[in-house]
């Protein structure tokens, strides 16, 4: 009763998105709370001197290669993480229509914003 026809296996491209999702998840879990703590609590409460966070110092930071890389990674990776999660949540909620378009919108948005931040940082040099 066994089928003679050899089954064809189609490789999924999910590892690419899962990799970005995993990397973004690590950042979101470990660094986002720290950033919220600094910018949302410690600076407004005056525990960290506000002077360190004026436009000029931040601009100087963003126009170093190191600073630009940190900002790009901190914006792009959590975004890929978030939109990957939204893409899968749509499946979990039973939104079956237009899976291809859902994918284009979700990952397309993450890609577009990543490119936008990249060019923004680049033109600041």
């Amino acid at each position: 009763m066994s089928e003679n026809k050899e089954k064809t296996y189609i490789r999924s491209h999910e590892p690419v998105f899962w990799g970005l999702f995993g990397a973004g998840g690590m950042l979101t879990a470990f660094l986002t709370p720290v950033m919220i703590l600094i910018t949302g609590l410690l600076i407004p409460l005056g525990i960290i001197d506000k002077g360190n966070f004026n436009y000029q110092t931040l601009h100087n930071f963003a126009t170093t290669w190191f600073g630009a890389a940190v900002i790009l990674v901190l914006v792009a990776l959590p975004l890929w993480h978030t939109l990957h999660r939204i893409f899968h949540a749509l499946h979990d909620l039973g939104v079956k229509r237009g899976r291809d378009w859902q994918m284009v919108f979700c990952y397309g948005f993450a890609f577009a914003v990543s490119v936008f931040v990249f060019t923004l940082l680049l033109q600041m040099f």
Binding site: I10, R11, S12, E14, P15, W18, D92
Partner: protein, 253 residues
Amino acid sequence: MSKPVETGQIIDIDILRYRPEEDKKPFTQTFEVPYTEDMSILEALQHIKDHLDSTISFRWSCRMAICGSCGLMVNGVPKLGCKAFLRDYYPKKISLEPLANFPIERDLVVVMDDFIKKLEEIKPYIIPEKTGDKKCLSEGPHKQTPEQMAKYKQFSMCINCGLCYAACPQYGLDNKFTGPAALALLARYNRDSRDFGEAQRMKIVNQEEGVWGCTFVGYCSVVCPKGVDPAAAIQLLKVESSKDYLIGMFKPE
């Protein structure tokens, strides 16, 4: 079965019944069962079949969480009937239903064909290095260090009860997904030092219906009565599949 100590206490048990030749759709029937502290849900079912309604159908065999036959939904949670006890629910009533995500065959019996098919598909046996290159029996056993054994032992404890499939929301949404137990068993053979079938099995793993159908909900590992942790097995396979993807980019078949 020894006669239970009569205490006069009664527990209500709701059972979802379905007899395909006479019922249009499943319905709930309530039974009053004499409660004793050491009575398992399986024993309660046996009491019902022996004393209250002999037409009720359910699967069971070993009574000690070895055979994996008596899986069912207890108040909506997948459990083994022999490993769940009335005392954890008394005096509230208990509702028993057949395992979720499987078609009902009759009463608490489900059709497990799809699950069995998936177990067979992942080649759940040791594949030797080359065919015709098998080690002869006279050459002695395949030796393995405790470290090599520790790599797969946990994933080999599965009893194929199907609780993880009833728990898995992804399998519930789309039963093309290979599912927790089959993937854990696949990991068990891929991680075995005596096995050389990894390349064959990675083709199954790499598919959308392979490990990538999993979103790491982790409920499979919560309900597993044998501590297999299929969710961890699948996460480990995702890492392997990602490595395989990278290698595949530079070395297309």
